[in-house]
Amino acid sequence: MHFDGRAVPRDTELAADLCIIGAGAAGISMALELAGSPMSVLILESGGFDPDPQTQALARGEVVGLPTFPLEISRLRFFGGTTGHWGGFCRAFDPIDFEARPWVPHSGWPITHAEVAQYYEHAQELCQVGPPDYEPNQWDLAQTPPLPLGNDVRTRLIQFSPPTRFGVRYRDAVVKAPNISLYLNSNVTSIRPDANGKTIARLDVATLSGNRFTVKARTYVLAVGGIENARLLLASNQVMQRGVGNDHDIVGRYFGDHINLDTAAIVPLSKDTSFKLYSRENRTIARRPLRKGGRLASVMGLLDLDPAVQRSEGTLNYSAEVQPTYFSDHFLHSERYYMPVQSDTGEESRFRQVKETLSSLYRNLSDAASAAFGKESNLESYYELMSTQEQAPNPSSRVTLAGNKDALGMPMARLEWRLGDLDRHTLKVAVRRIAQALGAGNVGRLRVTLDLEATEWPLHMQSSWHHCGTTRMHADPHQGVVDADLRVHGLANLYVTGSSVFPTISSSNPTVTIVALSVRLARHLKQIMS
């Protein structure tokens, strides 16, 4: 069943066994798992079945620190949540992502990779992709072979979901479940603990039409994304002054996102070298898995820094796409990269100088390659190396409350994204290792298109709309907001799910891990609540 929160009689108190706040990938995955169970489930969703500008405006916030996308653009507030503009990238986190890595401060999950891995296959099914097979030798890639790069930089695959719009795909399954009540246009404005601060007593809900009601449940799950999970906990400060679950000032800290950076140009030594496996343009090609009974799927190759290299070099996890482009574009890109430093009247001549230098080096490189290898280089095209790397857990990278309020009177979120030395170190090592692998494999040469030694990150660096870490999981309440079961430390009946619970964020896209953790939580709650 589904209801419109605007039509609920004012000051009504709705009741359920379990209340899930948010109907995005996390909330819907939980609902699907709980559909048909004996417990009554009530879902509160901010938006309707379709997006609308007024509701979306509730996601507005301040962005300080490193530039990132406006908050109301990177998240979606309607049934299905941010899967409404998801790109469909599916890959599970690696075992090393779960480890406490001595060279990565604050790393280590309180659960093992194996504990999450058992949910990945189901999570991928929900994302409409096959089993979590990411190794090239698990697929028939005869037409698009991986590059011969050795062991330090290895090719691994990412699988593509159609992508699944959870709100469309699973609407009927949620709405028709006899034990699930979905309330649309219903915004939680406060999580209210009881007087002793040990349990959550109720939720305050508001609509943009001015309606108000409350929800009382045995158990609550917060699943509104990496920004809003923190914002709602911090804003719920009527009983606990620092906010709910924030006794140790961890809520909102450790905000992380994948660092997305157009990093380098790869010049192939031979025009016979195929980069097709790595091209987004070719991801629509269906590849056949070697697993018996496996179904055709769209996959794409990424260049990963091998865990052994991560350990020996003390880096974070790192992946890169290799996308084709053309030599003429190189100059266009060069202008873009050098643009920020052009400020005087000598701009044009300096541009020309840069172009001439690049052109000269390119020609010389081709000459050298010809001399060395006795065959013509591929002068027609080159490839862009696009980094997607893990961000180090950083307590000063955080979500707090802004001074401004939204249309419901809630303080807006204030995002201060910060990166550190380890992030920079990882990029430098990864680029050098990839250059070395390309050279050793006689594949090509690499030219960095940014200043690796600069103290500032380049202006063209982008976040990836993957808001993580703000309610991180840790066994110690002083270092995390939720425990290994995703229960908020110190509160008996409040859980959090989604990317905000990631203690570290891997270099893989977060969606299947969000879904896996949410399914895991649903099964846990089913067990303990029955």
């Binding site: 230098t357 080096l361 490189l365 050098r432 250059a435 070395q436 050279g439 050793a440 040469r445 030219r447």
Partner: protein, 132 residues
């Protein structure tokens, strides 16, 4: 045994001449040449057909500016090898082997953004010197 005091036949090629001239310049810049025994140093310079003053002048070029110490640490032995190359095919094999060794061992340098084998970086820088 090769006589390193005589100009090489391969040196007739402009490409190699440029490479060797720059090699001398870079070696001097990094002081690596000074670490050679006097006899070795003189033999190298003679092989390159240069006086030390000439090599130093090459350094006036702004182009030879990056990672010279790293390159020089690799180069003296390779300079002798290149200078001793008698044929184009021998030169090609020497360069090829040197580059592969560099990549395998991670002996890379960065020249204006390029991550290159030290041997390649040297050749590039030298070509630029000749044109500057």
């Amino acid at each position: 045994m090769k006589d390193a005091t005589r100009p090489t036949t391969v040196g007739r090629r402009l490409f190699l001449r440029q490479a060797l001239m720059g090699a001398a310049g870079i070696c001097c810049a990094a002081g690596a040449l000074l670490e050679l025994a006097p006899l070795e140093r003189d033999r190298l310079l003679a092989a390159l057909g240069l006086e030390r003053e000439q090599a130093a002048r090459i350094l006036d070029s702004e182009v030879v500016r990056l990672e010279v110490e790293h390159i020089a640490a690799t180069w003296p032995q390779r300079s002798f090898e290149l200078a001793g190359a008698r044929t184009d095919s021998e030169l090609r094999m020497t360069i090829r082997r040197a580059i592969q060794e560099d990549y395998a061992s991670g002996n890379l340098v960065r020249v204006d953004g390029w991550f290159l084998a030290a041997t390649e970086a040297l050749i590039l820088a030298l070509t630029a010197v000749a044109h500057s």
